[in-house]
């Protein structure tokens, strides 16, 4: 029976779910997993979080540490060379967790309807209509399912309307002129108690009409579709059931839930707007589903009631006209009330009301009437000398002018010490232990001190007054005052003055540093710290001075900075550096090239070749071997030159002075061929080779510019003149005459120094240079020059003297004098000769002496003569330049050459000194 009954019971029972496994014999009952251990894990074994990094949670890597269980695995290196195009661009997804990409993350990867294809959620009218239908329908809320099967497109009609300018919420039809389109009252405004009858609000509308501007038109009022659903139920008329949206979405607390309202339209509006303003998703939220029949209240029990929900002032219903912003004249209906006429117009904040009594009107005072003879220019009143009798007057004056002169004795009471104040007040001194050292002095001494002090004070006072009278504005009375004043002056302008460029105290780095700190602090506006940056080791006076100096410097910089900086760029070369970097290889003469181009003689004449060092990286990128693997130079090799050297301004090719060892060696070799015993100092004079060219340039320039301009004779020009006249016929040197002339004419060494030539001179395109390639060696030229000094003045110079004495231009004189300077630099005793013999050194000394003597004793006559010679030579040279090389050769070069050959034979292996002796 028992079994039967149990069977029957089993039949009766309905079982849900799957049955537990029947327990085995002897098996222990499994312990239930405690709640805290019931965790969810994801595929990787991490604890599942329901938020990604972007939505409040965080789960990174493997247990918030690294990528895998084994640890961090670096992604395999992939050469970018092959995979250049496939460079991955990281997107936001790369930084997001899986949770963010999951269904409920911020970027769900599931297939969902996007906004474009979403069903007409924006179609408010239809929605409203549907909701009305839903409310009216026998089973409320059924229409919600329409969403799921509704067409996913905005209808063509709506689309067309939109294109015609219609906006959602507006009615359809021509724009209405005077009757404003009024929105429904804001549904969020609650009405407690009795609502106003509709008629009244109509009246108010009429009143408002007067207020509307004439030219404003309004869209017509939105017309709700007429609900034509037949009444199929047996509910009472107007009964609409329980509003599911209110019941379900937890917003009912804000609303009186009245089942019966006047018009269905109103409720529908209410519904629609509410739904949109809340923008709630359909779904079941927090609260229990549905409303129990027995529940008294389904309000949001946590809602708090605030005072602002209630009206505090008796007033009309707010117009709620959305056409106006908050500045709209809400209260214009009450304009008739007199005391509110010029009151606050606009929306009054909740909890506030307009004052019933207006405050007293603000008194406006008219500006003072200017006196007839008023001039809007300030003038300074006379300064009255401070003294006992007129100090009051002075004070008054100062106060009226607005600037209180700071006088040590007349300072404000805070500047006085206790003793002084006491003295002024006529109080007696306090008895007690006095810290003053005066106490320990004898009576007499004290008196004497006092006298001295007073005397000095008087003096100071007088001085100050006298200083203040003429230029009191510029004389800072105390450093602190000055600082204040300067700061007032500078304060703002300094703010944008960058101090990095301007170094007024560059020579004194300490001071410069102090200055910079000072400016910085000034910029930040710290007044007190200004003192801090001054040298603490200095005396008070020095510090004051320095501060003043700094202020002025800052001021100066500011003004120049703002006004001038826009017009100037930074210097290419620093000012205090007298050497500049210039390209080592200069281009050939442009004029030559132009003529070559005209003659279509392209090629050697128009081509310049430079050594050019490409960047190492550039070579690598071009897959080219670095042509200069050892050099660190990039671009054209540069040489340090004198900044004001003529060569920087001349376009003459100038071989290196110091660049490559190779060239030096080459030169040396060539020299050793000619003169094996010659000192290597001559190597340096490679540069001098160019001087020749530059000089000839200058001369031609000078010649072209030569006018009647009288010119103070400059010795350097003569040297050049004589120097360049090496093509004159050579005669044997008269030793005695040479010696006799020694004091008056430049020594050979100088010429040699300047015009030394080398046989390995680089070939250049200019004809001028080709001329000079025929030049004799130094020794020859010595003989030439000496001869020139002697020979031609008697023959031709007198003829030309009148002309040539006057024709010289400053252009030639100035640079050549510089050249001379160069020469001194190069040939000064500073440079140690590499293979010098003792004799040569002596010889150098003599050279120096010679030059000095020469410069001292030069006579005018000689100068003239030489100048004239130079002229002559120039002529010749120019002729030669203009392509009558041949004639030149005929006239002079032949002889030169012949003599060259002579002297060459003779002089090889002889030192210059010996040459001179001959």
């Amino acid at each position: 029976a028992a079994v039967e009954s149990s069977d029957s019971e089993e039949e009766d029972l309905v079982s849900y779910g799957s049955a537990l496994q029947p327990l085995q014999e002897g098996e222990r009952i499994k312990k239930p997993v405690p709640l805290q251990e019931q965790t969810v894990k994801d595929a990787k074994g991490r604890y599942q979080r329901f938020h990604g990094a972007f939505t409040g949670g965080f789960s990174a890597g493997y247990f918030n540490t690294v990528g895998t269980k084994e640890g961090w695995t670096p992604s395999a290196f992939v050469s970018s060379r092959q995979k250049r195009a496939g460079r991955t661009i990281l997107g936001p997804e790369d930084f997001m967790d899986e949770e963010d990409l999951s269904e409920f993350g911020i970027a769900p990867k599931d297939i969902t309807t996007t906004d474009d294809f979403a069903s007409k959620t924006k179609d408010r009218i239809k929605e409203k209509a549907r909701q009305i239908a839903g409310v009216v329908a026998p089973i409320p809320g059924t229409t919600a399912f329409d969403d799921l099967i509704g067409p996913s497109k905005i209808t063509v009609g709506v689309d067309l309307l939109r294109k015609m300018g219609w906006k959602e919420g507006q009615g359809i039809g021509p724009r209405v002129k005077r009757k404003p389109y009024r929105q429904k009252p804001d549904p969020t405004v609650k009405i407690y108690g009795c609502a106003l009858p509709p008629g009244l609000s109509e009246d108010s509308e009429d009143e408002e009409d007067e207020y509307q501007p004439e030219n404003v038109t309004f869209a017509p009022k939105d017309v709700m579709p007429v609900d034509l659903t037949p009444k199929e139920n047996v509910h009472g008329l107007g009964y609409k059931g329980l509003d599911p949206s209110q019941a379900l979405f937890g917003v009912s607390g804000r609303e009186h839930l009245n089942l019966f309202t006047g018009g269905s339209e109103e409720t529908s509006n209410l519904l629609g707007d509410l739904r949109h303003s809340k923008a709630r998703k359909l779904g079941i939220t927090g609260q229990a589903f549905g409303v129990g029949a027995l529940e008294e209240e389904d309000d949001d029990i946590y809602a708090t009631d605030t005072l602002s929900k209630y009206d505090t002032v008796l007033k009309d219903e707010e117009p709620g006209d959305g056409l106006y912003g908050w500045t709209a004249p809400k209260q214009y209906k009450s304009e008739k009330r007199p005391e509110r006429e010029f009151k606050y117009i606009g929306k009054i904040l909740d909890g506030f009301s307009l004052a019933s009594k207006s405050s007293a009107p603000i008194k406006i005072y008219p500006p003072p009437i200017l006196p007839r003879n008023y001039r809007p220019v300030h003038y300074f009143r006379p300064v009255i000398i401070a003294g006992n009798e007129n100090c009051q007057l002075q004070k008054a004056l100062e106060e009226s002018t607005g600037k209180l002169e700071s006088d040590p004795t007349q300072q404000s009471r805070h500047a006085l010490n206790a003793a002084q104040r006491r003295e002024q007040l006529g109080e007696t001194e306090l008895k007690g232990p006095t810290p003053s050292i005066l106490e320990y002095l004898s009576e007499k001494d004290r008196e004497r001190l006092k006298e001295v002090k007073q005397a000095s004070e008087k003096q100071i006072k007088a001085k100050i007054v006298s200083q203040q009278s003429p230029n009191s504005r510029f004389q800072p009375a105390s450093p602190e005052d000055a600082a204040h004043k300067w700061q007032m002056l500078l304060g703002r302008q300094l703010a944008n003055a960058g101090s990095s460029d301007f170094k007024p105290f560059a020579k004194d780095p300490e001071k410069q540093k102090r200055y910079e700190n000072f400016v910085k602090s000034l910029k930040q506006g710290e007044k007190d710290t200004l003192e801090r940056f001054l040298d603490p080791n200095m005396t008070e006076w020095e510090r004051g001075r320095e501060q003043e100096e700094f202020f002025r410097a800052a001021m100066f910089y500011r003004s120049s900075n703002s006004t001038l900086s826009s017009r100037f760029t930074r210097a290419k070369y620093e000012d205090d550096v007298d050497k500049v970097e210039v390209p080592r290889d200069q281009e050939n003469d442009v004029n030559d090239k132009e003529t070559a181009v005209k003659m279509k003689m392209f090629g050697k004449l128009t081509r310049d070749k430079f050594e050019w060092h490409p960047d190492k990286l550039l070579c690598k990128r071009f897959n080219v071997r670095d042509p200069y693997p050892d050099s660190s130079v990039v671009g054209l090799p540069k040489v340090k030159r004198d900044k004001y050297s003529v060569f920087n301004f001349l376009t003459v090719p100038e071989p290196t002075t110091s660049v490559t060892q190779a060239t030096n060696e080459k030169i040396q070799e060539s020299y050793s061929l000619n003169k094996p015993k010659k000192s290597s100092r001559w190597d340096i004079s490679d540069k001098e080779k160019e001087k020749k060219d530059s000089i000839s340039e200058l001369i031609s320039l000078a010649r072209s510019k030569a006018d009647v301009q009288q010119q103070p004779p400059v010795p350097a020009t003569e040297e050049c003149g004589t120097g360049t006249s090496e093509t004159l016929p050579t005669v044997v040197i008269d030793e005695d005459k040479n010696q006799g002339e020694e004091s008056g004419r430049p020594p050979m060494d100088l010429f040699k120094a300047i015009f030394v030539s080398s046989s390995d001179e680089k070939s250049s395109s200019s004809e001028e240079e080709s001329d000079e390639e025929q030049q004799p060696t130094t020794s020859e030229r010595e003989s030439e020059t000496t001869k020139q000094v002697d020979v031609p003045d008697s023959s031709s110079s007198n003829v030309q003297e009148s002309v040539t004495a006057t024709t010289d231009s400053g252009i030639s004189s100035l640079p050549t004098s510089k050249q001379e300077l160069d020469a001194t630099e190069e040939f000064g005793p500073k440079l140690p000769p590499a293979f010098s013999s003792g004799r040569f050194c002596k010889h150098l000394d003599r050279k120096e002496k010679h030059r000095k003597i020469r410069e001292r004793h030069k006579t005018k006559k000689e100068r003239k003569r030489k100048k004239e010679k130079k002229k002559k030579h120039k002529k010749q040279k120019n002729k030669g330049k203009h392509k009558n090389k041949k004639s030149e050769k005929d006239s002079s070069s032949d002889t030169t050459n012949s003599s060259d050959s002579h002297s060459d034979m003779d002089t090889t292996g002889l030192s210059p000194k010996e040459l001179l002796r001959r």
């Binding site: 070749k609 050019w612 990128r621 671009g635």
Partner: protein, 315 residues
């Protein structure tokens, strides 16, 4: 026994207007073929750069990102990147497919007249009116150029690159050739401001157009004048000069709305193409075919040889 090689076909010149591209990007400052000549780039004065298939007449892509007119552009050998320079003083490196600016190189003090990739598209050379040529590195992220070639005394109007040479034409009237392999700079004086330079295909000659309405063909190694070509008008504008695909003719744009072609050897005028009314601004010759791209005013025209039959063309 091998057949004798067929006699090389007589070089033909583009005489027939095949297509006109209305670029719609203001004045077309430059038109350039890509490396294989299948596509072309046009630089507009409306700050855009456009990629076209000129043979089909389709616009493929517009590249926006320059701050001012684009003055020159060049494509990389693998067609993956484009570099361009503009009046906004910037040189931009574009990704062809995404249309995004990969990098922008700023450093020029004036507008950038010309840009070129090197053979491997690892360096961009840009010439500017600030008289410098800057070598920008595409491989690293360094913002400053690898090297600045500031030898020119006036603005750079044209830059061309060969495997190991940089050829620049400057307004100071000089054609400079930087030989990286030799470590040498050769400066050839022409006199008149250079508007355009280019290498011949065999790399032995240099063609230079200058503002004295003359084209000069110079021997690269010696600087000697091999030929001189006149007849066109070029006095004001920066006009391009080209050599045809077989180095038999030289061509140059002209301010009278024509494009002129001369026989390279004889120096005689072979062809003058009437392109339009305005100045012919830019020229580009197809690397393999007798096909010429001519930019004038707001349009680009494509010219082919007479025998060419445009396929798919209704007329």
């Amino acid at each position: 026994m091998a057949f004798p090689r067929p006699r090389p076909a007589r070089p033909e010149l583009p005489r027939q207007r095949v297509r006109t591209l209305q670029c719609g990007q203001g004045a077309v400052r430059a038109a350039r073929f890509n490396a294989d000549g299948n596509y072309c780039l046009t630089c507009g004065s409306d700050k855009t750069l456009k990629l076209w298939n000129p043979h089909k007449g389709t616009a493929l892509r517009t590249y926006q990102g320059h701050g001012y007119e684009v003055l020159d552009a060049a494509g990389s050998f693998d067609n993956s990147q484009i570099c361009s320079g503009g009046a906004d003083k910037a040189v931009a490196l574009w990704d062809v497919t995404t249309g995004q600016v990969v990098r922008k190189y700023r450093g020029h003090a004036g507008k950038v007249n010309c840009v070129q990739f090197n053979e491997e598209a690892t360096v961009i050379m840009s010439g500017s009116i600030d008289s410098t040529v800057r070598c920008w590195d595409c491989r690293s992220r360094r913002p400053d150029p690898i090297q600045v070639l500031d030898e020119a005394k006036d603005g750079i109007s044209s830059v061309k690159l060969s495997a190991h040479e940089i050829l620049t034409g400057s307004v100071d009237g000089r054609v400079r050739r930087y030989d990286l392999r030799m470590g040498q700079l050769c400066s050839d004086y022409i006199g008149s401001p250079i508007t355009s330079v280019c290498f011949s295909k065999d790399g032995q000659c240099v063609l230079a157009a200058s503002l004295d309405s003359t084209l000069r063909l110079l021997d690269k190694d010696t600087g000697e004048l091999l030929g001189e070509y006149t007849g066109h008008r070029s006095t004001t504008y920066r006009l391009d000069c080209v050599l045809n695909e077989q180095d038999t003719h030289v061509g140059c744009a002209s301010e009278d709305g024509h494009v002129y072609f001369w026989d390279l050897v004889e120096g005689s005028l072979a062809l003058s193409l009437p392109v339009g009314q305005g100045v012919v601004q830019s020229l580009a010759f197809h690397p393999r075919l007798p096909c010429l791209l001519v930019a004038t005013q707001g349009q680009v025209t494509l010219w082919r040889e007479d025998t060419f039959q445009p396929e798919g063309d209704p007329n």
